[in-house]
Subunit: 360 residues, 2 copies
DNA sequence: CTGAAAGCGCTTACAG
DNA sequence: CTGAAAGCGCTTACAG
C-alpha cells in the first residue's frame, strides 16, 4: 500500500505537503494540490486511518458493548433500533461504531473498560440497565467520555444519559385504558429487580391513583419479559373471579402476545371483553391479529441522542453532561376498546364490594 | 493517560521491556515482570490500541457497512442475526467489529472502499445482495481481504463467500406442501430482480417438476417483500377461480402475514382450506396466530462463517478463498396442513381439465 | 505556501 | 533477559 512518502516522491514535494493536501486544513497552492492529487490518484493512495488516529489522538469512533451470547438480545427490537440511532448520529458526524461482544455480565464491564482504556474509541455508549452503582464510578475514573443509554442506577453527578420517560409513558397508557371505562387493570411487568419495571409500576400506580382506583396486589404480576410469563399471568388473574381485570398493561410486546394467547384459549374476545396494551411497538405488534396496541419506546431516538451528546463532548474536548428524557407514544391498534356497558355495570357492583371486602 | 514510558520510568526498566511484558510474546524474568506489572497497576496503565495497531499493521477489527437510512433494514431479523453471527466469530478470535452507516447505494460501496483502503479494519464482510458484478472486481483490486455475505452476482474466481442454499431450501419447502397433498401451489417471491428471488423460484420449479406438476404462470407473483404485496397476491390468486392455489410459499414472513390477512378477510380457514409457508423464521412467525410455518434461513451462521473465513485469512496473511453453503430448515407450525379429501377430489378434477385446457 | 523535524505510543530486529 | 534504535504512517508547530 502506498504511503504519503510515495505520493510525495512522485509529485516532487515533501511528505508534509501531501499530508496537508489530504488533511484539508492548510493552504496549498492550486498547482501543488493538483500535482499531489494526480500522484495520489496514479498510486491509488488513501491515507492510513490508524496512523492519522495515532497522530491526531482521536479515532472518530465510538464504542458499544453487546452481550452477544444472549440470544434474546437479537430477537428483540431493542438492539437493531439502538444500532439505527447510533448510526444516524455517528454517520452525520463522520464517525463509525466499534462493536465488541461480551460473554458475561462481568465481561461486559471489562470490555467497556478495555475500549475506554486502550483508546480504541474516543468514547462509548453504555447500556445502563446492565450496570450497577459502583461500576459507573469506576468508568468515570477512566477519564474517557461515556454516555449511558438509560439513566444511572443511582444519582451520579456528572454522568450523562439519555432515556425514555417510562413512568410517565406507562401512566398515560393506563390512563388511556381508564378513559375507555376500565377500572380493573392488570400490570404485567418484567423482572422486578430491573429499574424500568419499577418505574413503569410507579406509572401504573400514578394512573390508578389519579382516577381514584385502589390497586389490588393481585393485579400486579411479573412476566419476566417472556411470552410464557404473560400467558401464566392470565391464569393467575382469572383466579380472581369477578375481580379479574378487564384490561392488561404489559411491559413488553412478547408478554402481551402471551396474554392474548391466554385470553384466546379461554375464549375471551379481545377487545370486546378485555383490552391489552403492550410495550415497545415491535414489528410484530402491527402484524398479529388483532393488531396489538402498544407503547412505542423511542429506542432509536434515545441512542441517537446518547451518541450525539457523546460526540459533541468529544469534539469539544470535555466530559459529556446532562441528560435527554424522551416521551413515548401510545400506538392504538385493535386490542383496546371501550368496556361494554353490561360489563361496566357488573364492574361497578364488584368495585363497591371490593371496598368492603379487601382482605387478601 | 500513562504510556509505556511512564511505566518504564517507574519500574526502572527500558520502555521496550514494558512492551514485551504486555505483548506477551517474549521471555522476561519473573522479577522484572513483577516490577513492570506493579508499576503499570499503580499508574492504571493500559496499552494504547491504536499505537499497537500502527506498529503491528493489524487492527484486529473487521468492518461491515450498513444502509442505515433504510428503516426496513432494522425491522427485519436479518440485521440483528447477522450482527450476532459476526460477534460470535469476532469475539472468539479476539476481534471487534467496525460498523459504518451509508446513505445510499453508491455511498455503501464508497464506505466499503474507504474502510478497506484506509486500513481502519483488517478486512470486511460485504453484503453481496447490494453489489453488482463490476464492484466485486474493484474491491479485489484494493488488496484488503473481504468475504461476501451471500454469493457473488456472477462468477468471480477467488472471491470468498458464505450463503444459504436458497434454491434447495425452497425446493424442500414446496416439496413438503406437495407431500401434504397440495398440487396448486403459489410462489410469492419478492423483487424479481434480486438474485435470491430467482433462486427460490428455481427451487419452486424444481419441486413441482419432480412431482410432475405443470406450473401455471398465474401461480407466480411478486410481493416485493412487503406485507401488502402478499395481501395483493391473494386477490390475484383468487381470481383464478378453481385454479386458485391451495397453498402459498412466500419468500419472507412479512408477505406470508399479508397472505394470511388476505385469506382471513375472505373467510378462508388456515390450514384447513389453504396452507401458507413463510421464509426467514422471524420472531413474529412463532407469535402470530395461527403460528406461521416458516423456512429458517441461518443468517447468524452465514455471518459467523463469513467472519471466520475472513479472520482466518487475515491471520494467515492471505486472501480469503472458498465458500460456505448452509442448509435452511423448515420450521413447521400451524399454517400448514394436509389438503382435505374433498378438496383433493375437486383438485384432481381441476388438474385433469388443466391439461386439456392450458391456453392462457 | 512549503520544507525539515519532532512526535503520537507502540513493536521488534539487532546487539550484548 | 534487557537495552538502544529504528520504524509503523501520519500531523503539526516552527522556520523561512
Amino acid at each position: 500500500m502506498p504511503t504519503i512518502r510515495d505520493v510525495a516522491a512522485k509529485a516532487g514535494v515533501h511528505p508534509s505537503t501531501v499530508s496537508r493536501v489530504f488533511s484539508g486544513r492548510a493552504s496549498i497552492s492550486p498547482e501543488t494540490r493538483r500535482r499531489v492529487l494526480e500522484a495520489a490518484q496514479a498510486l491509488n493512495f488513501q491515507p492510513n486511518a490508524i496512523a492519522r488516529s495515532l497522530s491526531e489522538q482521536r479515532t472518530r469512533t465510538i464504542g458499544i458493548v453487546v452481550p452477544h451470547v444472549f440470544n434474546g438480545f437479537f430477537e428483540d427490537s431493542f438492539f437493531p433500533q439502538v444500532m439505527q440511532g447510533l448510526l444516524r448520529a455517528t454517520y452525520a458526524a463522520g464517525y463509525r461504531i466499534l462493536v465488541s461482544g461480551s460473554s458475561s455480565h462481568q465481561d461486559e464491564i471489562d470490555q467497556v473498560r478495555e475500549i475506554l482504556g486502550s483508546r480504541q474509541a474516543d468514547g462509548i455508549v453504555v447500556m445502563s440497565s446492565r450496570l450497577d452503582v459502583d461500576t459507573v464510578g469506576t468508568l468515570q475514573s477512566k477519564g474517557t467520555p461515556f454516555v449511558l443509554l438509560g439513566h444511572p442506577p443511582a444519582d451520579h453527578p456528572g454522568v450523562a444519559w439519555a432515556d425514555a420517560d417510562n413512568r410517565q409513558a406507562t401512566r398515560e397508557a393506563v390512563s388511556y385504558l381508564i378513559g375507555l371505562g376500565h377500572r380493573r387493570i392488570a400490570y404485567v411487568g418484567g423482572d422486578p429487580d430491573v429499574l424500568v419495571t419499577k418505574e413503569r409500576l410507579q406509572g401504573y400506580r400514578d394512573a390508578l391513583e389519579a382516577a381514584g382506583i385502589r390497586p389490588r396486589s393481585g393485579w400486579i404480576d411479573y412476566g419476566y419479559f417472556a411470552e410464557d410469563g404473560g400467558y401464566q399471568a392470565v391464569a393467575r388473574m382469572m383466579a380472581l373471579g369477578d375481580q379479574a381485570p378487564t384490561a392488561y398493561y404489559a411491559a413488553n410486546d412478547l408478554m402481551a402476545l402471551g396474554i392474548l394467547r391466554g385470553l384466546r384459549e379461554r375464549g375471551i374476545p379481545v377487545p370486546q371483553a378485555v383490552s391489552v396494551v403492550g410495550t415497545n411497538d415491535s414489528p410484530e405488534a402491527g402484524h398479529v391479529h388483532p393488531a396489538l396496541t402498544s407503547l412505542h419506546v423511542p429506542y432509536a431516538a434515545m441512542a441517537e441522542a446518547a451518541a450525539s451528546m457523546l460526540i459533541q463532548a468529544i469534539e469539544e474536548g470535555r466530559s459529556p453532561t446532562g441528560f435527554t428524557l424522551l416521551p413515548c407514544r401510545l400506538v392504538v391498534r385493535e386490542t383496546t376498546g371501550r368496556i361494554p356497558a353490561e360489563a361496566q355495570a357488573r364492574q361497578r357492583a364488584a368495585s363497591s364490594s371490593q371496598t368492603t371486602a379487601n382482605h387478601p
